[in-house]
Amino acid sequence: MIDLSVDLAGIKMKNPVMVASGTFAYGREYSEILDLSKLGAVVTKAITLKERKGNPPPRICETPSGILNSIGLQNKGVVRFLREDLPFLRGFDVPVIVNVAGDDIGEYVTVSRKLSEAKVDGVELNISCPNVARGGIIFGTDAAAVAEVVSAVREAIDVPLIVKLSPNVTDITEMASRAVDAGADVLSLINTVVGMAIDTDSFKPELATITGGLSGPAIRPIAVRMVWQVAQAVEVPIIGMGGIVKVRDAVEFLLAGATAIAVGTANFMNPSAALEIIEGLEGFLRGKEYRSIREIVGRVRM
């Protein structure tokens, strides 16, 4: 028997494969095609204090081996999430991690506290969403602000705190260290890379917000590099993501130092991507005669 289980700062996962925030909503839609209980964890779309309507369309376009999105923080607010969606997700035997966004530290703290009181399995601070004007990206690219929001939330909650980092920085290890020093139990990286595309017929930007977040296979080398750099710099576990489509992509992140990985854009290409990666990991480890997923974490050979 291959042991795929992972303990992420107290979050017990059957396997290291999660779904990335914003690509899986609150699980309901995908639950019709796959058994959520098989996942390592479900990470929800970002939740804010009040309902948000998100950005105007068009919100998406394709780029080579990737997509640009500018969904923004469209969501129904934490109260309706707790009432309508958390109970549904609780019906599956899978840890539920809730992605939290806000305009200011107060909003991050309030939403996180409510989630902690509702005993979600973990809170993931989205301090790196490039698609909101205030907050968001600001926190994620300024080291002092990262420290401030992380320690404020840390004090307010009793559940594991995951901090999701933005790749749009000169030095990802600085952001990582500051987040860990401020109390992050786990780091999640990377969020999307700021990008832009222009329709050469209409001369208009492809997204109504002009710029958006690049995800998908195109960004994988950037993500693997950052996971590797951060794994050298901090001691906490890392959730790696960015362009994971197949099992070998997941293995790359594990070798670079990620304890768990998340599948985002690939869910759109193949709704069973996460499940296929879980199966694939077992096969991969068996083929190489390992017994536990933990034996390959960080084992890139220099």
């Binding site: 839609e29 095609i33 998100g54 105007p56 394709e62």
Partner: protein, 253 residues
């Protein structure tokens, strides 16, 4: 919703740049409703990664047809498939047309490739004993690819071509009011370019219920990613699952 590996049964070029692909999938064929779509993965190792949505065009014992206009990379890929090839398809998805209510006459309005779901709808309407009128526009005579199929199902077809090579000459929307008055339908069902839909909706506003099928770029195609929204009176709605068919009165253009 299903995810199937659908076998290509046939691929027929019905006009320049338009192909009819017959795919085998008993599950999808059984469940699909007029106005719903399937989401198709167009090849492996491609630099464009999203699935492409296509309306279910017709259903025939255990199979369903897509009517595909070649406009880019994914549709070019699909146009080159041969019988025996296998496609990764999810569906049927979305809210289709509501066509079973208590009414007598339906006017279907198809612009170009927008005819695809309306053939399926016409068949459904006929099964329900409705009188069907069909306003069908395309750039040229060759673009009116479904005329023969429609003739078997509908009461009357009003054809319009931009170059006048068949039927009225001009844009479909120029003839809408005339046709509308001639048939005095109780329901309108329209699919085609957004500009056309907007005009049809405006002409009928408040008179008879009008359902339209919208197009948006889609990522997940199952309601999870919120990439495909359109503006409605109740806020942003997802075209993939709250639509693609909407009541025209809901839409803020």
């Amino acid at each position: 919703m299903h995810r199937v590996k659908a076998r290509v049964e046939s691929n027929v070029k019905v006009a320049p740049g338009i192909h009819r692909l017959r795919l085998s999938s008993p599950e999808i064929a059984l469940e699909a409703e007029p106005g719903q779509f399937v989401h198709v993965l167009c090849g492996e190792n491609r630099d464009y990664i999203l699935r492409r949505p296509f309306s279910v065009h017709r259903v025939r014992n255990g199979s369903f047809d897509l009517l595909i206009q070649v406009v880019g990379r994914g549709t070019t890929y699909l146009s080159q498939l041969e019988a025996g090839d296998v496609l990764d398809v999810t569906g049927p998805t979305g809210r289709g047309f509501e066509f079973t209510g208590n009414f007598k006459k339906g006017l279907l309005v198809a612009g170009g490739i927008g005819v695809a779901p309306l053939v399926f709808l016409a068949e459904g309407l006929r099964e329900n004993g409705k009188e069907i009128y069909f306003l069908y526009g395309a750039a040229t005579r060759e673009g009116l690819v479904c005329l023969d199929d429609l003739r078997e199902v509908v009461q009357k077809i009003f054809s319009v071509t931009e170059d006048g090579s068949f039927g009225y000459e001009g844009l479909l929307t120029e003839f809408f009011s005339e046709v509308f008055e001639e048939c005095s339908p109780n329901r309108i069902f329209a699919c085609g370019p957004e500009e056309m839909l907007r005009k049809v909706a405006a002409s009928t506003a408040g008179t008879v219920p009008c359902q339209i099928s919208l197009e948006r770029k889609m990522a997940c195609g199952i309601g999870a990613c919120l990439s495909c929204v359109c503006r409605t009176r109740e806020g942003y709605k997802r075209v993939c699952v709250d639509g693609p068919v909407f009541d025209a009165s809901e839409i803020i253009w």
